[in-house]
């Protein structure tokens, strides 16, 4: 695809003695949601962390918006307008919700209109605006983590399993938020194990196994083909349906 915002070509990543990513080729088209599926340990999180420079790619290139970024430091990559919502949410628990958002906006003033929109998506953030983020519930922390990634318009948002361990009502709020972001033409790369969530928001899909992409195509195709799902993901998919 020529209009890919992000493309990984033959990316290898080693973590200590382990060879985790073994030649990942992945294209993330502009203005859509790409879902990265795969069983536990397939390398999905490592892919996101390698894109952010939190692990250094030992081989291969990562192109973002026409520039190679695989040698850059994490802060430099983040400043290229890539937001990352890690699996552990990584919020600053000692700081207030407000301060967490200020940090995410990198100390430029928070856009009131955008903040109003975020409060509409995640009302609890407004209620607990001045409380320490450590006192929020798990679902509220996840809301804050996503809100932090979208407080400023970013070119690309990487989200690692936003629905993990959350109640269905909060999952629905997440789906609604991602759908709104999609309408605003935001490019999102989403790691997800929950297939119904993936199907609800994904435009394109890539399936990983053993550190490689084993399938990529349109979400609609995969969603319609039960045999393909079975072949690609086997039990892990059924368990989440």
């Amino acid at each position: 695809m020529s209009d890919a915002l992000l493309s990984l070509n033959g990316v290898h990543t080693h973590i200590g003695p382990y060879h985790i990513l073994q030649g990942v080729d992945l294209e993330v088209p502009r203005g859509g949601v790409t879902v990265l599926l795969g069983r536990n340990g397939a390398g999905k999180t490592t892919t996101l962390r390698t894109i952010m420079g939190l692990w250094q790619a030992s081989k291969g290139t990562i192109q973002f918006d026409g520039t190679e970024i695989q040698k850059e430091t994490t802060p430099a990559i983040a400043q290229r307008e890539i937001a990352f919502v890690p699996e552990d949410m990584g919020i600053f628990t000692d700081l207030t919700v407000h301060e967490n958002m200020l940090l995410a906006a990198r100390n430029s003033a928070i856009d009131e209109e955008r903040l109003g929109w975020i409060f509409g998506l995640f009302p609890p953030l407004k209620t607990f605006w001045q409380s320490a983020a450590g006192n929020l519930s798990g679902g509220q922390k996840q809301m804050l983590a996503v809100a932090r990634a979208i407080i400023e318009p970013r070119k690309l948002i990487l989200i690692d399993e936003p629905t993990k361990g959350l109640a269905p009502a909060i999952i629905n709020a997440m789906i609604a938020a991602l759908k709104e972001l999609k309408e605003m033409q935001t490019t999102i790369l989403l790691v997800e194990q929950n297939f119904s969530m993936a199907r609800a928001v994904g435009d394109t899909v890539a399936v990983m196994d053993d550190g490689q992409i084993v399938y990529s195509g349109a979400m609609a195709e995969l969603a319609a083909d039960a045999g393909l799902q079975e072949r690609l993901m086997g039990l892990s998919l059924e368990a989440h349906q």
Binding site: L54, T74, P75, G90, F92, E99, L103
Partner: protein
């Protein structure tokens, strides 16, 4: 106005506000409320240590950097002023030059230390600072031609700042208005200004990033902050502040030696003051310094009084003997950490 001076960092507890006000007025009117050389000396030390401890808290409490080189920076400031006064004579220009040079050298030293060691893990940075500080202490003791060695340096300060200078002939409220009093107020107002500057720093966007780094450095990087750079700037600012506090100490004591500025004992005291007062709060530095120095100065007297009144009881009077004051000091610290694990300010704020 007051909130603005405090950079929006309200004490957030009535009790804490009351205690802070009490300390502020106590120090402001100390020469009149508690006349006498010894109490004035304690008050001046409290002012200086508030700045020193607060600048250490900027590193430890706000940024999460453990350093044992803080007394080294304190010493560099003190020696800067002392050496200038020895070599240039008792003039204000010597004080100014010494203070500025001390601060600059401390900042440069801190910069060099951060260059080669902030990238390493926390414990190695702590060990590195310990090594550098110990080496510096030995160096100062050995370069006796320049630093006075173990004996330190004694020097004169401008006449207007010495007890020999009389502002007015008569006593005011029973206190002689002499040069020592002027020096006290120089120390007091300089410390107050430095403290407010530190308060401003930690409540700025810069301070917020430091807190984020303390909690999760990787996360701060992923948002786009260069962690090493922020840590370095915090280390340098903290060193400069410590050096300025050192210059005030040199001015107040009219003597600078390894024991009053560089020793590891002072380093441990600073650590205790930060922890007792409450890490990660500038007000903790105030409370910690006041409590610690008052205890250090007056516990012996208190024990003496106790022993007198309990003189008839054989074992008890032995235990509360003033000679055993260090034992009681240690017990007090253990108790305070047991009951206030988040420091006194943490407890007062109910967090």
């Amino acid at each position: 106005m007051i909130v603005k001076l405090l950079s929006g960092d309200r004490p957030r507890s009535k009790m804490l506000s009351a205690v802070l006000l009490l300390i502020l007025f106590g120090l402001l009117f100390a020469p009149f409320l508690f006349p006498g050389t010894r109490s004035l000396d304690t008050a001046a030390r409290i002012c200086i240590f508030i700045v020193l401890v607060a600048s250490y808290d900027l590193l430890l409490g706000y940024t999460g950097v453990v350093s044992f080189a803080h007394t080294m920076f304190f010493g560099i400031g003190a020696y800067g002023t002392a050496i200038a006064l020895v070599n240039m004579g008792a003039s204000y220009s010597a004080i100014a030059l010494g203070t500025v040079c001390g601060a600059l050298v401390a900042g440069a030293f801190a910069f060099v230390i951060t260059l080669f060691s902030l990238r390493v893990k926390a414990i190695f940075f702590a060990m590195m600072t310990l090594a550098v500080a110990s080496a510096f202490l030995v160096l100062v003791s050995q370069l006796s031609g320049f630093t006075g060695g173990e004996d330190g340096l004694s020097y004169r300060i401008p006449r207007e700042m010495t007890p020999a200078f009389k502002l007015v002939k008569e006593k005011v409220l029973g206190v002689r208005l002499n040069g020592k009093l002027i020096t006290y107020y120089v120390v007091f107002f300089s410390s107050l200004c430095l403290f407010l500057v530190l308060l401003r720093m930690v409540n700025s966007p810069f301070g917020r990033v430091l807190q984020a780094i303390r909690e999760n450095a990787f996360r701060a990087e992923a948002i786009g902050y260069k962690v090493v750079r922020y840590r370095s700037v915090a280390t340098i600012l903290s060193a400069v502040m410590a050096a300025l506090a050192g210059s005030l100490m040199a001015l107040w004591l009219r003597y600078t030696g390894p024991a009053t500025t560089l020793s590891m004992d002072i380093m441990v005291d600073i650590l205790l003051m930060v922890v007792i007062g409450g890490m990660g709060s500038m007000y903790g530095a105030v409370i910690g310094a006041v409590l610690f120095l008052l205890t250090q100065s007056y516990l012996q007297n208190l024990l003496g009084l106790l022993q007198e009144s309990l003189g008839s009881l054989p074992i008890v009077s032995e235990v509360v003997s003033p000679e055993r004051w260090l034992l009681w000091l240690g017990m007090l610290f253990i108790c305070s950490i047991y009951w206030f694990p988040k420091g006194i300010v943490g407890r007062l704020r109910g967090t």
